[in-house]
């Protein structure tokens, strides 16, 4: 293996990537999946983790282009150069460019996108070309690669681990840390007294607490919550979510960000999503929602946006008349703004900053004020 002259490498282990545009040779889902699979190849052998962003500057910007495309390294039409990438660093560094004059395919009938992406991402992480013909980082594209049994060669693993070391935990170690491991600076800490959540939802008897690119998963059988990257379960979801709620009748969780929402069943995002939130019946003035909770018994879903709320009738599949109403009128003591909301044990739980309001919907009053991270048994 070889590394770039000067040994450029990322000084952080959590990297962002963005798929800037798409080739017409493949469906968007196929491109998304190929990139995710290619990132996972490197994620599995290093401490590196990746999360996808949809706008702005990511560490790794991934794009398709033909001929001259603004980096003084023009592509050359079909064949010959199929892609290139830049060593770790700011701006164009770390980026991946695919030559869209190639025929990008999911199999090896054309140029396999996954295989090329895995190679180019090796460059984005700091690997140069290897002279080992078995290595992924060998410069010549090998159309006979067995995709079903693709594995990094030892040469590739030695190369990337010379830059970043091995993954933090061997597979047989427990997923949930047995002792409190102080998180890396950019990771949220469940014991941070100021911890607030972006979104909270039940899921088949569990409770998910979303924050930034991560979420805690509280399960009935585990005292300590698990901590995961959102992208580990839902690679296509953005980070910094706005709201989430479970639809018990549909066995789905709806995830909201900006003016879009996704439907997930388990960790499968349902076809046809994301959709616009206005398809649920919100007026155009609502640009995003702050929180959502589902009342399992009454089959109603409550949506909170700024100082107002709406109620959605699960049976009629439409927003109820007479809404929006003011949160302060019907949930006195809650607010002013709601970050996340949850129904459990007959109570509504409203998360606002580092505080959590337990609200009795029958007595129509706040019965307890707790810390937001109270559920996580810090």
């Amino acid at each position: 293996f070889a590394t770039f002259p000067g040994l450029p490498k990322w000084r952080k282990t959590h990297l962002t990537y963005r798929i800037v545009n798409y080739t017409l040779d493949l469906s968007r889902d196929a491109v998304d999946a190929a990139i995710e699979k290619a990132l996972k190849v490197w994620e599995e052998v290093t401490p590196l983790t990746f999360s996808r962003i949809y706008e702005g500057e990511a560490d790794i910007m991934i794009s398709f282009a033909v001929r001259e495309h603004g980096d003084f390294a023009p592509f050359d039409g079909p064949g010959a150069t199929v892609a290139h990438a830049y060593a770790p660093g700011p701006g164009i560094y770390g980026d991946v460019h695919f030559d869209d004059d190639e025929q990008w395919t999911e199999d090896t009938s054309g140029t396999n996108l996954f295989l090329s992406a895995a190679h180019e991402l090796g460059h984005s992480l700091g690997l140069f070309h290897s002279d080992n013909p078995e290595a992924l980082m060998y410069p010549v594209y090998n159309p006979r690669t067995d995709l079903a049994r693709f594995r990094l060669s030892q040469d590739d693993v030695n190369g990337i681990q010379s830059l970043y070391g091995p993954p933090p935990a061997s597979p047989d170690e427990p997923m949930v840390p047995t002792k409190f491991i102080p998180p890396a600076p950019q990771m949220p800490s469940l014991c941070d007294p100021a911890l607030s959540f972006d979104a909270v939802s039940t899921l088949r008897g569990e409770i998910l607490f979303f924050k930034d690119s991560y979420f805690w998963r509280k399960t009935p059988w585990n005292h300590k919550p698990e901590f995961h990257l959102i992208s580990t379960f839902w690679p296509a979801l953005p980070s910094e979510l706005d709201a989430a709620c479970e639809s018990y009748s549909k066995d789905m969780v709806f995830i909201f960000k900006g003016n879009k929402f996704w439907a997930t069943r388990g960790n499968e995002i349902q076809a046809g999503y994301p959709r616009g939130i206005h398809t649920l019946g919100f007026p155009p003035t609502v640009r995003k929602i702050d929180a959502a909770l589902s009342d399992k018994e009454k089959k109603k879903t409550y949506f909170f946006a700024e100082d107002k709320y709406w109620r959605y009738d699960e049976n009629r599949q439409s927003m109820e008349k007479g809404f929006p109403r003011l949160i302060a009128d019907d949930f006195p003591g809650v607010g002013p703004k709601v970050d996340a909301a949850l129904q459990a044990f007959g109570f509504f739980y409203f998360f606002s900053g580092s505080s959590q309001f337990q609200f009795d919907p029958n007595a129509k009053k706040v019965t307890h004020i707790l810390r937001s991270n109270n559920w996580l048994k810090c």
Partner: protein, 81 residues
Amino acid sequence: YPLAGAVKKDSNMDLVQQYLEKYYNLANGMKQLVRRKDSITVGKKIKEMQKFLGLEVTGNLDSNTLEVIRKPRCGVPDVGH
């Protein structure tokens, strides 16, 4: 001098010249030398490429070498720029 007939444009030499410039740091100014084929530098560069790509190191443009040069590949150089 041998009759200065029109130098037959050897597309293989063009191909190898571009390849060596792009991936093996052959300086652009070597253009003329490449045409004369007897340049020590180009022979060295061809050997460097053949060694890196796992080919028989002959320093010549044999069919194996030409075949590999024509294969699709990554656009990042093989030796440090």
